[in-house]
Amino acid sequence: MYSALLYKEWLKLRTTFVGLVLLSMLVLAYIALNLAYYNEFMTPKGFWGNVIFLGFRFFVEIKYIPLIAGVVLALVQFVPEMNLSRLKLTLHLPVEENKLLFQMMSIGFILLVSLYVMITLIMWIIVGIYFPSEIINFVLNPLLLWLLGGLSSYFLISAVILEPVWSRRLVMLPFALGFINFFFTSEDPTTGLLIFLILAAVFTALLIPFSGYHFKRGIK
């Protein structure tokens, strides 16, 4: 049954997913070209100095890609479900409702994590061409934060979309945006903060069945 649900969600999301992969590749290619340019024209010494002493973020163009991916995936996956109450079709399937919602969410999660792993690996490779591992960590630490922000945005925006009551949506949305904003304004997170944010991102996933419960109860 999970494979059938996976099949359905893949049919719905594949074009968007491919689009997000292409967008990410374009941005990563742009960063790779910029890296080559900085290395050539600033000289490696000058470029390293800028990165190490001035904290030059030559990879900042990737910052909002995880966010865009999370929000777009949530919209494409769940807006059609809410449109004309199509979610009723899904919830009428002979599977326990919360399980169905978690399974749907897990499919969005898998696609998003696949994209994020691809971004991280490519980033690791292109930065590794020019820098040692210390600088790679300098890049991957904030990237991890943005990826977590993207993941939270997927969970939170999905929960807002699935919430059937408009007034609750209007309450949830500012909280969601404030929470997501935190991931994109925190500079150089400590390990403790990162662990806290990973747990917080996981917690946001629990809001989806909560909204599903409201839908199921027919609350309007």
């Binding site: 059938a4 099949y7 359905k8 009723k88 009428h92 002979p94 109860r217």
Partner: protein, 295 residues
């Protein structure tokens, strides 16, 4: 005969607005049950409660003996559900949607689905979003038939369908239901289509049940009597005899379950012993309008 659906003292409010109060009915196995009512009387609300998409304010709704709000997957597999407007996953093609649903239902029979699809001018790879409303209705029906459920809940199957597709829909449905003793719970705005289809009917009005009986009994016992009403000052009113009435251009009409003699006595009591009452035959739609009123 086993009760497939039992609704007991069901009351529902949307906020402070009462939709219905102490609503009671049951659907016996193998029967075709029609829930009829004007717009806004609570038909879709009832169906949402039956399918567990709405928690009633009070009362109980049982489907195959289970509380409809907490249906087990096993029971849900026994219920085919057509959502108002023949809603389906429109991003899927005819073939894809059949493949998707088939994994969920152990008794899946794809033959009736593809038989119905063969009547449409579409290919298997055509997306549902590119189909006409009539074609989408056949996809939705075909999927329900392939599911082979014991109970079919059809919420306004006729919405947006022309006469041909409505007929095709009902022809398939009746053949299927009679062959396998399936139970059907159906609502529609096109009452005339259901005339020779229903076994039982429940006619509801705002907040109340007007009729709950086999359709044959309703057709046999509900009558329309017309009479001249030259005196415009005569006041008719609803009571045990008069279930509804109309006064239009010097003519009176009374809708009743009582015999002609009782109507005559009632008119006599109003000083209208001269009134010549005449029984007018009614179609199911006439009877529906007669009992619910035009407004």
């Amino acid at each position: 005969m086993e009760n497939v659906v039992e609704v007991r003292n069901l009351t529902h409010y949307y906020g402070k607005k009462l939709v219905f109060e102490n609503f009671n009915f049951e659907i016996k196995s193998g029967r075709i049950f029609g829930l009829l009512g004007k717009n806004g009387t609570g038909k879709t609300t009832t169906i949402n409660i039956l399918n567990g998409f709405l928690k009633p304010t009070s009362g109980q709704c049982l489907m195959f003996g289970e509380n409809s709000y907490k249906l087990s997957p096993k029971t849900k597999a026994r219920v085919g559900f057509l959502i108002e407007g023949h809603i389906q996953y429109s991003f899927m093609s005819i073939k894809q949607i059949e493949k998707f649903y088939s994994s969920f239902y152990p008794n899946w029979k794809k033959e009736p689905y593809y038989e119905l699809m063969s009547k449409l001018e579409v290919t298997e790879d055509q997306k549902i979003s590119k189909m006409s409303c009539g074609q989408r209705s056949q996809v939705a029906l075909g999927l329900i038939l392939a599911q082979d459920p014991d109970l079919l809940i059809l919420d306004d199957y006729s919405m947006g369908l022309d006469a041909g597709y409505r007929r095709l829909f009902l022809d398939y449905l009746i053949e299927y239901a009679k062959a396998d003793s399936k139970t059907i719970f159906i609502t529609s705005h096109i009452i005339q289509d259901l005339e020779n289809f229903l076994d039982d009917c429940l006619i509801i009005d705002y907040r109340s049940v007007l009729v709950a009986m086999p359709i044959k009994e309703f057709r046999d016992t509900f009558k329309q009597y017309k009479f001249n009403l030259p005196d415009a000052s005569v006041k008719l009113s609803k009571n045990e005899i008069v279930k509804n009435f109309e006064i239009l251009k010097g003519k009176g009409t009374i809708y009743t379950f009582s015999p002609k003699e009782a109507v005559q006595s009632y008119l006599d009591s109003l000083g209208m012993s001269e009134a010549q009452i005449e029984e007018i035959p009614m179609s199911l739609e006439d009877a529906f309008i007669g009992i619910t009123g035009k407004y």
